[in-house]
């Protein structure tokens, strides 16, 4: 298995002979990491996930999940993965517990084991109190938690999350992140998730790939990606505005660029937090004092916009996809419809 939970080589999917949804994508997900797949709507995130979870056949290329080929050994792949789709797939007419048991049955897990696991998972996602209530009475956050529990019933090795917080409010999103972190801690699995919430990716993911128009445009840890943009921006003012200290600042290691404008310095630095004190020391050593200082770190938003461009997308999505998303959003917002 050479330490990689998912290996993707030249994976391609073409719809209707001309719409290239995923275009020769290569990446690998390391054992035990949270890998985030970012991109605008229609970029190919869900198509990629659907191929990896063996629901959709690739047009070209190959991929292995848990060391099994997704085409040749699809049933082994299915056994070792857990999936939380974008939609709320739990059956509204059944109770939470019945839904989890149904998932367990789909994996052929014997009843005596599945009952124990279901209770354990319900406990973990704090739904024990509601387990005998029909899912149509659940709130968006509860439904999402139930989906997480369902996806974990077979103790998956690789856990696929497609937009896990789509349509949830800020509190519920934060809570969902905590559950994901908790689940990962508890079960120590590899997580592959797609999202278009950048702060989510930044907070949760060990590594990120940004995909656009079916191609991966950049990949790395959140920090690496931010560094790629050219580092942090530090602005500072000195008491005596007439003296130019640019040459002094430039000598400090990890400073990349200094600009002086009307008495304030704009400094591009690497590792802003660590470099800033050094810069202050250098200025003090010259006998000057700093009156104001601020440090801005590039956010993932800037990285994202840098790679995917700022123009709005006129996506053409299938009616089915639009419908599903609408249902998901509606259910996320408030319990019954």
């Amino acid at each position: 298995m050479n330490g990689d939970a998912v290996v993707v080589e030249g994976l391609t999917r073409v719809f209707n002979k001309n719409l290239v949804a995923v275009d020769h994508v290569n990446f690998s997900v390391k054992e035990g990491e949270i890998f985030g797949f970012l991109g605008p709507n229609g970029a190919g995130k869900t198509t990629t996930i659907n191929m990896l979870i063996t629901v959709l056949k690739p047009t070209e290329g190959k991929a292995t999940v848990c060391g099994f080929d997704i085409l040749k050994h699809s049933s082994e792949v299915r056994n070792c993965i857990g999936v939380v789709p974008q939609e709320y797939t739990a059956d509204e007419d059944l109770t939470g517990l019945e839904n989890i048991i149904l998932c367990a049955d789909l994996y052929g897990i014997p009843r005596e084991i599945s009952k124990k696991r279901a209770e354990e998972l319900l406990e973990l996602v704090e739904l024990t109190k509601f387990k005998d209530k029909q899912v149509q009475t659940y709130s968006g956050g509860m439904r999402r938690r139930l989906e997480l529990a369902c996806g974990l019933i077979n103790r998956p090795h690789v856990f696929f999350l497609d937009e896990p917080t789509l349509g949830l409010d800020v509190q519920t999103r934060a809570a969902t992140w905590n559950y994901i972190k908790l689940l990962k801690k508890e079960y120590g699995m590899t997580i592959f998730m797609t999202t278009h919430y950048l702060e989510e990716a930044d907070m949760l993911c060990d590594r990120i790939a940004i995909i656009d128009y079916g191609k991966i445009v950049t990949m790395g840890t959140p920090n690496e990606l931010k560094e790629k943009l050219g580092g942090d921006i530090m602005t500072l003012s000195i008491k005596d505005g007439n003296i130019d200290l640019s040459s002094v600042i430039e000598k400090v290691p990890r400073v990349k660029e200094v600009k002086k404008q009307d008495g304030t310095y704009r400094i591009k630095v690497e590792d802003g937090e660590e470099t800033a004190p050094t810069i202050l020391d250098a200025i003090r050593a010259e006998g000057h004092s700093v009156t104001r200082l601020s440090l801005t770190k590039p956010t993932l938003d800037e990285v994202y916009l840098e790679y995917t461009g700022k123009s709005l997308r006129e996506e053409e999505e299938s009616k089915e996809a639009v419908f599903r998303q609408r249902v998901t959003m509606r259910r996320a917002r408030g319990g019954a419809h």
Partner: protein, 301 residues
């Protein structure tokens, strides 16, 4: 690390879980359960009782043609008797039973199966639209089980509904035939099972690629009444126009209705009954196979 060693490879495990999911929607929802029981009863009452074809011949409102010289009282009684015998003969000749209600009630059984089977196709369209289908496809459950669970659900519902319809028909005075025993009911349920498997497989096969509820509705509307009327469910086929006859001969509704009438109402013609069951079995086997093959082909896109 993944603990899949203890998991059963028995395909029935997943099949039953999925079937039970569908059935629970039905029996856990008292409102739905009530409606699905009341609907065939309304049909039975409306068609079987309201369209009282036998009454056409026994109506006292039809004036006896005046004859000159006028008939004596005994002659009138005699004529009335003759007329009544004549009407019974017509009923007997046409429907092979003296009352249309009995004839009709058995037809309603076929009708109930047909309508239940039609809706089984709808649920797969919903599963696709709501994402449950892809969720199920990402699990190791057998692809065929996903479809067969819908078939099984529809068949179980049909059998229960058929039992309810027959129970009411018996209570309302269905006249059983000379060969009827309680064991014949097992034959009726077997026939319902076979037609249910065949019909729901057809409708699911039609639905398996469909993503739109509307398309499925249109297909259902196109097929339901023609299938019902081009059969012997409501009216004997031998009185239908010649161009329609071939259609009734290949319509499985005709065979299930005939089998059930033989078992309940008529003196059993073993030869004809065997043909009915042979046809129904072939129908069930062929279409469930097609359904499973299509599910293999189309469920994984």
């Amino acid at each position: 690390m993944t603990q899949r060693n203890g998991n059963s490879k028995n395909p029935l495990h997943g099949l039953w879980a999925l079937t039970n999911r569908e059935l629970k929607k039905w029996y856990k929802n008292p409102y739905l359960l009530f409606l699905s029981i009341i609907q065939p009863l309304i049909w039975m009452g409306l068609f079987g009782r309201a369209m009282n074809i036998g009454a056409i011949f026994t109506s006292t409102k039809i004036p006896i043609p005046t004859i000159d010289p006028p008939l004596t009282i005994p002659q009138q009684i005699q004529l009335g008797q003759a007329f009544s015998n004549f009407s019974t003969t017509i009923m007997q000749e046409t429907f092979k039973t003296s009352d249309y209600f009995s004839y009709m009630s058995v037809g309603i059984v076929s009708f109930v199966v047909l309508f239940t089977a039609m809706f089984s196709g709808m649920s797969i369209v919903w599963d696709r639209r709501l994402g449950f289908l892809s969720k199920a496809l990402s699990t190791p459950v057998a692809r065929g089980s996903i479809l067969m669970s819908k078939v099984l659900n529809s068949v179980i519902r049909s059998i229960i509904q058929a039992a309810i319809v027959l129970g009411f028909a018996f209570a309302l005075g269905l006249t059983v035939g000379p060969d009827f025993t309680v064991f014949n009911l097992l034959g009726v349920f077997a026939a319902v099972f076979l037609i249910g498997v065949g019909l729901s497989s057809i409708f699911i096969a039609i639905a398996v690629r469909s993503t739109r509820i509307e398309t499925q509705m249109a297909v259902m509307n196109l097929l339901n009444l023609p299938l019902l009327f081009a059969s012997n469910a409501l009216f004997p086929t031998n009185l239908m126009p010649d161009w329609l006859q071939p259609l009734t001969k290949i319509n499985p509704i005709t065979y299930v209705t005939d089998a059930n009438r033989q078992l309940i109402l008529y003196a059993i013609d073993m030869h004809q009954l065997a043909i009915d069951f042979l046809f129904l079995s072939a129908f069930a086997v062929i279409f469930s196979t097609i359904g499973i093959v299509l599910s293999w082909r189309y469920l994984s896109k």
